[in-house]
């Protein structure tokens, strides 16, 4: 009888429960580290960075594509952090959000969505060109990847991009969401990201629901519902515009 086998067996069989335990420990360590910085770095920001580090380690160790959850012992993280519970929790944050605040950002919110998608696309296209991708399908797909990591492959399939280009477009989208998670709390003060309207504009400009959700959580959790509301429309708008209007614009220009 091997005690370790029994313990590991229990933790693997009760994956979701194991993930509650793991995330709890990560939060506890993070808020402890936050106290060491005298609260200058928010505990949730540290927790998110720790999560990314764990994902990196998991990915390197297993060669899989789902971070730490590819390790059997931690597979429950995939359930806890999967899209079903994540969206359920995001929606619940709207409880107590104020409708007047949302109305205030009607026009700038819609504008930020349009500018956000088109600007990210243009930046992606320019950088793709700078790195030697000169055909329309590749430039469009990489531009779409700069929108989000969902829009990239959707567009790539529609315009017939090669699989290595699709992989790059996904990588850009993932890096984008990671950068949003880390940089948002750092730049929140100079950019006056301290009110519901700014959060809605931010969600519209950044998109990437995962990045926006985590970045705002690390800044001020009360801003999350406002930013998440616009961010969820961003990917849809990107899937709508990139393979159609923006692709046509590219073929006309080149």
């Amino acid at each position: 009888m091997d005690i370790m086998d029994i313990i590991v067996g229990i933790m693997t069989d009760y994956g979701l429960v194991m993930s509650f335990a793991v995330v709890g420990v990560v939060m506890w360590v993070s808020y402890g580290l936050s106290k060491l910085t005298k609260g200058r770095i928010h505990g949730s920001a540290i927790a998110i960075v720790l999560g990314l580090v764990l994902a990196f380690i998991g990915g390197i160790a297993t060669g899989g594509s789902k971070g730490l959850s590819d390790v059997a012992l931690f597979s429950g993280l995939g359930v806890m952090g999967g899209s079903m519970l994540r969206d359920f929790a995001i929606i619940s944050t709207a409880f107590g959000a104020r409708l007047e605040e949302i109305k205030k950002s009607g026009l700038p919110g819609i504008l930020s969505l349009l500018i956000g998608v088109v600007l990210a696309f243009i930046l992606g296209v320019v950088l793709a060109f700078a790195f030697g991708y000169t055909d329309v399908a590749s430039m469009t797909t990489i531009g779409a990847g700069a929108v989000t990591f969902i829009v990239g492959p959707v567009t790539g399939a529609a315009v017939g991009a090669t699989s290595d280009v699709v992989a790059i477009s996904i990588a850009i989208g993932v890096i984008k969401s990671i950068v949003v998670m880390i940089i948002t709390p750092v730049l929140a003060k100079p950019l006056r990201l301290n009110n519901p309207k700014a959060a809605m504009i931010y969600g519209g400009l950044m998109g990437t629901t995962s990045g926006t959700a985590a970045g705002l959580a690390a800044t001020d959790a009360r801003l999350v519902p406002y930013g998440a509301m616009t961010a969820t429309f961003y990917t849809g708008l990107g899937c709508l515009l990139c393979p159609s209007v923006l692709y046509l614009a590219m073929t006309t220009l080149l």
Partner: protein
Amino acid sequence: MVVYGLTLLAGCMFLGMFCGDVLGVVTGVDSNVGGVGFAMLALILISSKLTKEGKLSEKAQSGITFWSAMYIPVVVAMTACQDVASAIVGGGALAIISGIVVVVIPLLLVPVLQKLGKPSDPLPPIEQG
């Protein structure tokens, strides 16, 4: 009952996802368009109406607030499942540079767009908890 809060939340989620799927089909996007956003709007509208009429008990509310309190831990679990390794190792310089540029430049527009429309007041400071 606490579960009534979860039922309301579930109902709003299905309503929102339905709207998002229908909008996706109508626009030919072939994916859910803003389902979470619609669900959030539904929750705001329905819960504020029920609260005003006193039909949402404190226990039912706690069923919803539990999930909003679990939000950050869920996000941490989500970040631990991202494909960070292959994005950094496999994406190369183009992915890393692009990923940074497409965040920093749009971020600079946040204060610019904020000047449009009615101003919104900063949230009052809170103690970190």
